[in-house]
C-alpha cells in the first residue's frame, strides 16, 4: 500500500507496532496452509481490542478496501489468502482473551483470537469439556474455527464447531456491532443470524466475541485398535457399529499405505500387512463404556477383524492415538508437497469412495494415502507430490477434480471441515446449483454492498462476487 496517509491513520488507531506496511512483513501474510499461489496484501493490521477492530473495519469500509480476517493462517482452502494486493489482512491473534467461563450456565465468552487448545484446557480446568478438536487445534483460533465451521476427530458423537456456538457479536461490513444468539440454551429471537455466521468464511462479518457452549466431560473412555484385511470389511464394521446404536466418540480409519508409512516413521509395531485399521474410542459413564466397548469388539470380530487390541493402560491408549496423530506428519515426510483433501461421503459410501480414490491414484500415477474420520464419512485423501514438478502437479490437479466428482457422485460434499475458500469455489455449483450460488451472492451483496469482506472466496472472482 503506497498511501502513506492511510497507513498513518491505521497506526493512529492501532498503534505503530500493530501496523505492518513493510514489504517483508506483508509477504509473510501472503499464504495460508493451502497449496495455492500467494497474494501479497497491501497492509497487515493487528487490532488488540474490539474497539480497534471496529475502527479498522470502518476505515476499510470508508476507503473501500477489501479485508481478509486471519487467525493463525492454518486454513486449508485458501480462505485466509488475501483477496488482492489492495487487501488489508486483519490478524486476530491480539484479540485473545477468554472473557467469561461460566460453569453454572455452561458457556464461555471468548474473543476470536483465543487458541482452540488453550480454550479447551481452560474449560477442562473448570471441569468442563469443549469437544471440537480440529487437527490444528494447538495453533488454530476459535474465530477461525467458527468461520470455517471446523470439525475434528470427535465430530461423530459430539458434532462440529457449529454445535457449540450459542451466540456472538460481530461487526458488519460498515463496522456496526451486530448481536446474534444468546447465552441461553433456547433462543428464537429474530433470524438465526448466529448459524448464518458460522462457516461464513469471513464473507458476512467480523466476529468480535463468541459465546460457546460447554458440556460436562465424559467420565470414562476406552480406546481400541481393530485390524482388518480389507477396507471393505473395516467399513462394514463401521456401518455395523452405528447400526447397533453405538456412537463412538472417535472412529478413525487408516489405509494400508498410511499404516506402512506411519510404521516406517514411528516403529511402534503397527501391522504393515493390514488392509485397514480402525481406531475406536467410546466414552461416557463407566458402565456404558464397558458395555459399548464389549459390543464394538464383538461387531469388529463379526466383520472379519483379524485382531483387536484394547488399550489396557493410559500408555497403550496413547500408543493407539499416536498412530493417528502420526498419519499426516509421516505422510508429509515422504515428498516435499502434501495436499490434504477432505471430501466427505455418507458413511455407507465409504468403501466405494476409498476404491474410487485408489483408482484415481492409479490413473494419474500419484501417491495418495488415505486416512480420516470413518465414523462420519469424512476422509482425508492425502496427495504426496512435489509442487516444483509441474508435469506431475497438473496430474495432481486433475486427480483432485476427479476426487470431488467422485464424492459428489456418491451423494457427498466437497468439504467436511476445511471450507471452500479459493480452493473449491469452482466446484460449488456442481454440489449445489446455479440458483443456490445466485441466492448466496445476493445475500452477500446486500450484507456487504461494497464487497469488501473477503471477496473472491466461496463463489470465485471478486468482480463476480
Amino acid at each position: 500500500m503506497t498511501n502513506k496517509n492511510l497507513i498513518s491513520e491505521f497506526a493512529r488507531i492501532l498503534g505503530k507496532e500493530n501496523v505492518m506496511a513493510e514489504e517483508a512483513d506483508r509477504q509473510a501474510y501472503s499464504y495460508d496452509s493451502a497449496m495455492l499461489p500467494p497474494v501479497v496484501p497491501g497492509l497487515v493490521v493487528r487490532p488488540t481490542s474490539s474497539q480497534q477492530l471496529s475502527h479498522t473495519i470502518r476505515l476499510c469500509s470508508l476507503h473501500g478496501l477489501p479485508l481478509t480476517v486471519r487467525g493463525s493462517g492454518t486454513n486449508l482452502s485458501g480462505g485466509t489468502i488475501p483477496s488482492s494486493s489492495e487487501s488489508v489482512v486483519v490478524v486476530t491473534n491480539g484479540l485473545n482473551r477468554i472473557i467469561e467461563l461460566n460453569a453454572r450456565d455452561l458457556y464461555a465468552v471468548v474473543e476470536p483470537g483465543v487458541i482452540t487448545a488453550d480454550f479447551a484446557k481452560a474449560a477442562a480446568m473448570k471441569g468442563l469439556f469443549y469437544p471440537p478438536d480440529p487437527g490444528s487445534q494447538t495453533v488454530s483460533t476459535l474465530g477461525g474455527n467458527v468461520a470455517e465451521n471446523a470439525g475434528g476427530l470427535r465430530g461423530l458423537k459430539y458434532g462440529v464447531t457449529r454445535d457449540y456456538v450459542m451466540g456472538m457479536e460481530f461487526f458488519d461490513a460498515g463496522g456496526e456491532l451486530i448481536k446474534a444468539g444468546s447465552k441461553t440454551v433456547k433462543c428464537v429471537s429474530g433470524f438465526n443470524l448466529c448459524d448464518l455466521m458460522v462457516g461464513s468464511e469471513g464473507l458476512l462479518g467480523v466476529y468480535s466475541q463468541i459465546i460457546l457452549k460447554l458440556i460436562p466431560p465424559p467420565v470414562a473412555q476406552q480406546a481400541m485398535m481393530a485390524i482388518f484385511d480389507t477396507v471393505e470389511s473395516a467399513s462394514e464394521a463401521v456401518s455395523a457399529i452405528i447400526a447397533n446404536r453405538i456412537i463412538p466418540c472417535t472412529l478413525e480409519f487408516l489405509d494400508n499405505f498410511t499404516i506402512r508409512t506411519v510404521e516406517d516413521f514411528r516403529h511402534a509395531g503397527l501391522p504393515v500387512d493390514a488392509g485397514a485399521l480402525l481406531l475406536i474410542e467410546v466414552d461416557g459413564h463407566p458402565a456404558q463404556v464397558e458395555d459399548e466397548a464389549a459390543k464394538v469388539k464383538e461387531i469388529c470380530r463379526q466383520n472379519q477383524a483379524k485382531k483387536i487390541q484394547v488399550a489396557q493402560s493410559v500408555e497403550e491408549k496413547e500408543l493407539i492415538w499416536q498412530a493417528r496423530r502420526d498419519a499426516l506428519p509421516a505422510l508429509a515426510r515422504l515428498k516435499p508437497t502434501t495436499i490434504l483433501e477432505d471430501a466427505t461421503v455418507p458413511r455407507s459410501q465409504l468403501p466405494a469412495m476409498i476404491s474410487r480414490i485408489k483408482a484415481i491414484a492409479e490413473k494419474y500415477r500419484l501417491i495418495i494415502g488415505t486416512f480420516g474420520h470413518a465414523g462420519d464419512g469424512n476422509l482425508h485423501p492425502t496427495i504426496l507430490t512435489d509442487k516444483r514438478d509441474t508435469e506431475e502437479y497438473s496430474r495432481v490437479e486433475a486427480a483432485i477434480d476427479e476426487i470431488f466428482d467422485a464424492a459428489l457422485g456418491l451423494g457427498g460434499t466437497l468439504s467436511g471441515e476445511h471450507g471452500i475458500g479459493l480452493a473449491k469455489c469452482k466446484y460449488m455449483e456442481n454440489e449445489t446449483n446455479r440458483a443456490t450460488i445466485e441466492y448466496s451472492k445476493r445475500l452477500k451483496s446486500v450484507l456487504d454492498p461494497k464487497n469488501i469482506l473477503n471477496p473472491g472466496k466461496m463463489f470465485g472472482g471478486r468482480d463476480d462476487g
Binding site: 505492518m20 513493510e22 514489504e23 517483508a24 512483513d25 509477504q27 509473510a28 501474510y29 501472503s30 499464504y31 495460508d32 496452509s33 497449496m35 493487528r46 493463525s72 493462517g73 492454518t74 490478524v91 491473534n93 491480539g94 487458541i115 487448545a117 490444528s136 494447538t138 495453533v139 499426516l328 506428519p329 508429509a332 515426510r333 516435499p336 508437497t337 502434501t338 512435489d386 509442487k387 516444483r388
Partner: protein, 433 residues
C-alpha cells in the same frame, strides 16, 4: 560480495530443505518469540517464506530478510515440533551466513569476532581487563544470586542484572595433563565453554571435583577457543570455521575417550552444528570434525549414561527443593532430558519438583538477548513464573547461558532462589554420598 545473482544462487542451494515446509503453521504453537509478538515474520513458517522469496527474487531486500531472520532465539523448538521434519536451524544458519556474506558483517561484530573471538589469548586478555574495571561500574543486587547491576546508566548493560566476569579465565589455573596418560580408565578432555570459563568458573570447579571422585582422568588445554556459535549465529562463517579448526588442532594433540562440556550450547554446537556447518571445508577437515563431534558429550549425559551415576536414587532432604529447567540445546537439540534430573536426584540434597513447562525457552538465545533485551525479558517472565510457582529454593539447568538469563530474571523479581548447574548440585553432595 555485492552480487545479487550469487546471493540468489547460494540461497537456492537451500531449496531442497525449504520446500519441505508445507506451511501448516504448527510452529506457531511452540515458538517462544511468536508467543510474545504474534507476528508471522517472527515464526519459522514466516521466516522460511521470506528466505524462499528472497531466493526466488520475489523479495529483493536482503537487509529486511536478515533483520527478521536474526530475530530468532535459535532454540530449535520449531524444528523439534515440525510435522514435516524441516531442518529449520540448518536453513536459518546457512541463510544468515549467505546474506551476511552479501551484506557484509557489521564493523562492531567484525571487530569482536575477528579481532577477539578468533584469538583466544586476546579474548582472555580483553575479559581480564573488563573484569578489572567492572568493579566501580557495578553494584551488588542479590546475595543469593551473586548478581550485579550497572551503577550508572549504561547503554551496553542497560537494565541487566548480571554475574560479574571472573578475575581470570578458569582454564588458566584449571589447565592440566592426564595423570596416567598410559593408564586404564576413562580419559576425558574438558571443554568449559566461554561462559563457564569466564563467568561461572565454579561450574568447572564442580566438574573437576566430580571427575576426581569418579577417578576420571582429565585433560584441560592451556588455550580453549570458542566453539564458534556467536560467530555462526551472526552469519560469520569465516570466524566459525577458523575456530573449529583451532579447536581441532588443540584437541587432537592428546588422545582421549570423550570431550566433555558443561555447556548445553557448546555441546549442541559441536555435536550438531560443526558437522552441519563445515560442509564447505575440505573432506579431510570434515572427517576430523566428525571424529571430535562423535566424542563430545554433555556432562550430565556423560555422568549418567557413561559412568552410570544415579542408578540408586538417594533419599532427598525434604526441607529443600530444586526445580529443573530444560535448556533448549539439551532437550530439543540433543534429546537430553532425564540425565540432568537423574544427576540431581543422585545428589540427594534436595527434592526435585518439576515446574510447569520445563521445556519452555528461557528467552536467552545468546546474542538475541543482546539485541532484543526487552523481548528476551518478556519471554523469560513466563519461565520466571513457572520457577517461582514451584517454591523451590534452587533452580538447576545444564546451560550457563540459561543460568545467566534466569539469574537476571530472578534478580529483577527480587527472589532469593539460587541458580545451579546440576553438576554443582552433585559435586556439593560428594562427601555426603
Amino acid at each position: 560480495m555485492a552480487d545479487m545473482r550469487k546471493l540468489v544462487r547460494m540461497l537456492n542451494e537451500l531449496d531442497e530443505d525449504m520446500v519441505q515446509c508445507v506451511r501448516c503453521g504448527m510452529c506457531q504453537a511452540v515458538c517462544p518469540l511468536y508467543a510474545e509478538t504474534g507476528r508471522e515474520a517472527d515464526v519459522a513458517r514466516g521466516k522460511l517464506v521470506l528466505v524462499e522469496n528472497l531466493s526466488k527474487e520475489i523479495l529483493k531486500d536482503p537487509r529486511a530478510v536478515k533483520e527478521r531472520l536474526d530475530k530468532c532465539l535459535l532454540c530449535g523448538s520449531c524444528e523439534a515440533a515440525c510435522p514435516s521434519g524441516v531442518k529449520v536451524l540448518e536453513v536459518f544458519l546457512k541463510a544468515r551466513a549467505i546474506i551476511t556474506g552479501y551484506l557484509g558483517l557489521s564493523p562492531v561484530k567484525k571487530a569482536i569476532f575477528r579481532g577477539f573471538l578468533s584469538n583466544p589469548d586476546r579474548f582472555d586478555g580483553l575479559l581480564k581487563w573488563m573484569a578489572r574495571i567492572q568493579g566501580p561500574f557495578s553494584r551488588n543486587v542479590n546475595e543469593t544470586l551473586g548478581s550485579s547491576c550497572a551503577r550508572f546508566m549504561s547503554p551496553v548493560i542497560g537494565d541487566r542484572h548480571y554475574l560479574p566476569i571472573a578475575a581470570a579465565a578458569w582454564h588458566k589455573k584449571g589447565r592440566r595433563d592426564f595423570q596416567h596418560p598410559k593408564g586404564e580408565g576413562i580419559k576425558v578432555a574438558f571443554y568449559p565453554g566461554c561462559l563457564v570459563d569466564k563467568v561461572l568458573p565454579r561450574v568447572a570447579d564442580a566438574a573437576m571435583k566430580v571427575f576426581e571422585y569418579h577417578q576420571v582422568d582429565v585433560f584441560v588445554p592451556d588455550q580453549i577457543p570458542c566453539c564458534g556459535i556467536p560467530a555462526l549465529a551472526s552469519g560469520d562463517r569465516q570466524t566459525f570455521e577458523h575456530l573449529v579448526e583451532k579447536n581441532l588442532d588443540i584437541f587432537e594433540k592428546v588422545p582421549f575417550d570423550y570431550l566433555i562440556t558443561p555447556c548445553a550450547t557448546c555441546t549442541a554446537t559441536i555435536v550438531k552444528l560443526w558437522p552441519m556447518m563445515t560442509d564447505l571445508l575440505p573432506e579431510a577437515t570434515r572427517d576430523r570434525v566428525q571424529a571430535l563431534s562423535e566424542k563430545t558429550r554433555d556432562i550430565n549425559e556423560f555422568l549418567v549414561s557413561v559412568l552410570n551415576v544415579g542408578t540408586a536414587e538417594m533419599p532427598a532432604d525434604p526441607g529443600r527443593s530444586v526445580t529443573y529447567h530444560d535448556p533448549c540445546h539439551l532437550r530439543k537439540s540433543l534429546g537430553i532430558i532425564d540425565q540432568p534430573r537423574t544427576l540431581i536426584k543422585a545428589a540427594g540434597s534436595r527434592k526435585l519438583v518439576e515446574m510447569k513447562d520445563p521445556e519452555r525457552c528461557c528467552g536467552m538465545g545468546g546474542s538475541f538477548n543482546l539485541q532484543h533485551y526487552e523481548t528476551s525479558r518478556k519471554i523469560g517472565e513466563k519461565k520466571l513464573n513457572c520457577i517461582a510457582a514451584t517454591g523451590a529454593d534452587t533452580v538447576a539447568t545444564g546451560c550457563p547461558a540459561c543460568m545467566l538469563q534466569i539469574t537476571d530474571l530472578l534478580s529483577h523479581a527480587g527472589l532469593s532462589v539460587s541458580v545451579r548447574h546440576p553438576v554443582e548440585i552433585y559435586a556439593e553432595a560428594i562427601g555426603n554420598i
